[in-house]
Symmetry: C2
Subunit: 232 residues, 2 copies
DNA sequence: GTCTATAATTAGATAGAC
DNA sequence: GTCTATCTAATTATAGAC
């Protein structure tokens, strides 16, 4: 979405030297984005300094204003980057998404497991989300319209469909949305706290699997009701 | 815990004037703490400025260093303040706590409802907690040992007791802790986002009650199993 | 105790050499 | 494109009048 700064201003043919320069520039840009993800997640937008980001990226602070218009634009590029990684992780953890076909209890169970595994390996995304969601701002408006609303609608429709068919508990979609996101992300968002509270190795792969199973039980019940449910 | 600056340096008897001065000072101190709660919750420790806190408190920025040693000490006073409010809110919403006697399913259900109602009216506490928990720091160490660990132990013991007696699903205490805190707090922590996503009045009293009921259903099941459960 | 003025540091952004 | 040097504005904390 953010255009890279124009690197071929006129019609000069791409020589080997300019191609190497471009590759170096792309590497710098990516390193800045990944460093920004880490720093914004840890300290919030205002708490993260562009100097710390540049140092983590192995470059110098003015590079941020060269490759991005401003700290704000770097933040947007970082957010787009982690959401792209989320979609990749979700795709890796489940064959079909929520929206593909008529939702079933088992499909939602698979989706919940996929969400838990994905957010476990991508804690920065939900750290950034929550840092921004605590106060209204232009950044919050941007992130809600660009990344949040579509995902909310998908989950709300899936839950609503199951709820109307009595395949899940009679709980409001808005309640389920925040309960599921909160219940699935907090242990990873708060991993530094969890390490102090529970020990260094408390949030490991076994925890993630127990967490996924636990949330499926909590949100979908121990077992699908045999027989009695009738469609709307 | 933090001693107020000594206001009676020698043995001068308290005149009406000095008593009025002291009352004014106490009011300034409290106004600073409450403004600090708001600003730290909205912007995090590093993102909140002492000028903004002083302005919100209706006083001037150097008052912070007079009434508190530093921004850091003000933060600690603010955290103690919101945890005291949490305890008051929890006490108002339930007769007995988790630790009073042998835990029962109904007692835990009451506790969950009390937690939801309390965190709904005190979103600043969980905003501050989550802002700090995303990165390790001296502040995180302080808050975990001073405020978090005891509450974690209480809930983990209660759940473990019910779990051993097969009165709740067989889910690990650590999973339940983060799932419950996340599921109960996120809608209020993220209220600015929820307003953009769902509309201005989505997180109202009816939501809180539906939320409380929904979490009881999710964590404790729709109904206690009649008969079959045997104690350990 | 509360105020104004200011010191010392650090922030994001820019200029210009190479 | 990347670097060094630096500008302007904002930060926390302190000094000193009242």
């Amino acid at each position: 979405m953010a255009d890279p700064p124009a690197s071929s201003p006129s019609s000069s043919p791409p020589t080997s030297a300019t191609r190497r320069r471009q590759a170096r520039a792309d590497a710098t840009r990516l390193a800045l984005i990944e460093a920004a993800v880490h720093e914004f997640a840890a300290h919030g937008f205002e708490g993260a300094s562009t100097r710390a980001i540049a140092t983590r990226a192995g470059t110098h602070q003015p590079q941020i204003n060269y490759h991005f218009e401003s700290k704000d634009e770097l933040w947007r590029a970082a957010v787009d980057h982690v959401f792209a990684k989320l979609d990749a992780a979700l795709a890796a953890h489940q064959i079909e998404g929520l929206g593909a076909d008529e939702i079933t209890r088992d499909r939602l169970a698979d989706a919940i497991r996929a969400i838990v595994r994905a957010v476990a390996q991508l804690p920065e995304l939900n750290r950034i989300m929550i840092q921004e969601a605590t106060a209204d701002s232009d950044r919050l408006a941007w992130i809600v319209e660009r990344h949040t609303r579509g995902r909310y609608d998908l989950l709300a429709e899936a839950w609503g469909s199951l709820r109307r068919r009595r395949l899940v508990a009679d709980i409001d979609e808005t309640v389920v949305y925040y309960a599921l996101i909160g219940a699935s992300t907090l242990a990873y968002v708060n991993a530094p706290e969890a390490r102090r509270l529970l020990g260094d190795h408390a949030i490991d792969d076994a925890f993630v699997e127990a967490h996924a199973d636990g949330l499926v039980t909590m949100f979908l019940g121990p077992e699908p009701a045999a027989g009695g449910a009738s469609a709307d």
